[in-house]
Assembly symmetry: C2
Homo-oligomer: 420 residues x 2
């Protein structure tokens, strides 16, 4: 089966926006077992769009088209479809009803301008827009089934999920039965992750791998399509593949459920009913922000002291003046006292701390940009470690420092839980 | 002039990665005055790529192709080009020399596998890869000039900048003289920004606008291409357009130099030699993280207390127990005392604070999710304000709260500076 995707709209061609819709649709089709053969993007040019639609109608079986359904003169996709198919535009009563109901819910009245959006090619079927005004539509031209959707990602996604997926499954006898397992990996570059999992295809030919890199974390997805979700064998097969992948990944898997490291720490702390405090210097609030992005973090996160100045380190976290004078702000002893101070001040079970040089300025030969001291304090632990990273960029250094601090805490929590 | 872009590689078609290369190239061509007519993406299918190249060679004048130049069997772009052009692949001596030098610098030795990457279509010209091993190449087929680049964004970008741009300028008599002014806008949805600047095209036909939305901020770019950079008239024209745009944007421009709000605050504090402390509850470290993402922020940022627990609010920031009991943690009085406490504890000139409900849980009818109280304390100011947002998402709520707190501070700093 041949599937094509066409995005329309000047924004993409001018480079003002990146076409994320096509990636979403490729993935959604792939999850139904359909590989897209070709993606295209063109501007709001009615003749060009019409000629491409005509071309696709002879080559593909499925075509998903996004964009150009709005109320303005730039929005020419329906017209292009009409030209390509020879079906004239007419007021589609279903579309009109759907739009009227959308407007009514929001207390607006439909204007003549809006009505243009209900003009669809004769013989097409309206697709409800659950998140906006412009209806989509579905039409068969020559051998190909075309699905026209809005370009706004939130409108397009829900239209695909609620209106189109079922049609595709019926028409092409597809299945969206799919099992996915996710691993969160930290501490390996993407190329290394790929190399370590190189044998996957041969070992598990019925599954496939997906990777998503979000510096410095890589999510590995193990995907088994076309399986019956209730099928015990499928569940056991994907579990085997998952265990194999975990074994390959050199102890760098931070969550076997695809959680972020902050979510995983939240899970561990909640399970043990323990609380957390944080002391940050060079990470400047990033660790706290990651921890509090997790819903429900107020159950275990108590306090964080972002102490950029030495005075704040001493006054708020009780770092000894002598420590600062003898060793400086960036030192394991300072990191240790920061963690201990934060833990004590907040009355928390655990605390982590960072002090280092994020750059671009402030580095010396002895303490270069990219150096960070991380402290960890808890009922049975009191330690500090130094790391050197060289990403040459302040924001990346901060991310790496924050991840490393969270990873030290996570490993400790795991070891405590295991021995408990 | 007709320009097409073609990305090759299975990753894009499987939806595993988003094709950001095409957006980069569209923008780069647009900045030289060339609008791309069509973008395409296909997998590593040699016959399909060859047929598309053949097709493009008859329709376009310029085609930029990315991906498929690596050492593995999947990398078939050079072969596809050879099939489409009828020029056989041969060992390109320039490419070999360039690769050898790249390997030598890194202490590696070239293997036979790598040599495959130096096999280029006869009659093509090698393009140096400054950031990786695979050389690119340039060849004319029929009426169209094709530029083949690697798919890795860092390699592609530098090849375009250093190797291709100049060729395009010479061959097509293009210019990359360009003036850009940037405005940072906060507090208006993108559609509203577009509507307010609707008259721009008519008023300033020689310029164009670009928008980049990074929730909840919108960057507006005013672009004047094909101008002589030293031309006084061009500078004065774009300044006029900029002032017009600022006037249209309802006092929602937070930086007229395209700075982030945290950078703008850093600029104002540095200019006045003032310092900053922060007290965060619901934003959980996000404000501090934004402030410390700015290089040099240690000059003015002293301390931030992320006080999630009521104990921490009282112990660290000296919020009165009575305040918490009488009004609760989310209240203007609490926000005010948090800001005052942080300012006092850190000995800072200014302090801002947030306390609110980021969600998804924790909301009540009286204090719903999306409600935030923001405090501001300084030598001549002591205030708190309440806002209600409804983005329905914890991370978006945090962003909105943080931006609003920074915006309150920015407005105050501007007013103080003006009256000083």
């Amino acid at each position: 089966m041949i599937a094509h995707i066409l995005s329309t709209g000047d924004e993409v061609l001018l480079g003002d926006i990146v076409d994320t819709n096509s990636a979403f649709l490729c993935k959604a089709l792939k999850d139904m077992g359909v590989e897209v053969q070709k993606i295209m993007a063109v501007g709001d040019d009615v003749e060009l769009i019409a000629s491409i639609i005509g071309d696709i109608s002879l080559k593909a079986d499925i075509c998903l088209i996004t964009g150009g359904l709005g109320p303005t003169r730039d929005d020419v996709t329906a017209l292009a479809c009409s030209k390509a198919s020879g079906h004239r535009l007419e007021l589609n009563q279903d579309a009109l009803v759907s739009m009227k109901s959308y407007f009514k819910k929001r207390g607006f009245v439909l204007t003549k301008d809006n009505e243009k959006q209900a003009m669809l090619p004769a013989g097409s079927r309206m697709l409800v827009n659950h998140n906006g005004t412009a209806p989509g539509f579905y039409i068969k031209i020559n051998q190909c089934r075309f699905f026209f959707m809005p370009g706004v990602p939130s409108e397009m996604k829900i239209m695909f999920e609620k209106e189109i997926k079922q049609v595709l499954m019926n028409e092409f006898n597809l299945s969206d039965d799919i099992l996915i397992e996710r691993l969160t990996v930290f501490g390996l570059p993407e190329s290394r992750v790929g190399a370590l999992l190189k044998g996957f295809k041969t070992k598990f030919p019925e599954m496939r791998l997906g990777f998503r890199a979000d510096f410095p974390v890589i999510e590995v997805k193990i995907i088994l399509t076309d399986s019956d979700k209730d099928n015990k064998k499928a569940r056991s097969d994907i579990e085997t593949a998952k265990q194999w992948a975990i074994g390959q990944l050199e102890n760098k898997v931070v969550s076997i459920q695809g959680l972020s490291i902050a979510q995983e720490i939240g899970r561990l702390l909640t399970k043990e009913k323990k609380t957390l405090a944080i002391a940050e210097s060079c990470t400047g609030g990033l660790i706290s922000n990651m921890v509090t992005d997790v819903a429900g973090s107020s159950d275990y996160f108590l306090f964080s002291g972002i102490t950029y100045s030495n005075d704040a380190k001493m006054n708020i976290l009780n770092v000894q003046k002598k420590t600062i004078i003898d060793f400086g702000a960036v030192h394991e002893q300072t990191a240790l006292e920061m963690a201990q101070g934060a833990r004590l001040r907040a009355g928390a079970d655990f605390a982590i701390s960072t002090t280092g040089i994020a750059g671009p300025g402030g580095g010396t030969e002895e303490k270069p940009v990219g150096m960070v001291c991380i402290g960890l304090s808890g009922p049975t632990v009191s330690m500090a470690k130094t790391y050197w990273f060289s990403f040459g960029d302040r924001v990346r250094n901060k991310k790496m420092f924050a991840m490393m601090a969270l990873e030290l805490l996570r490993r400790h929590l795991v070891s405590v839980t295991k021995t408990a």
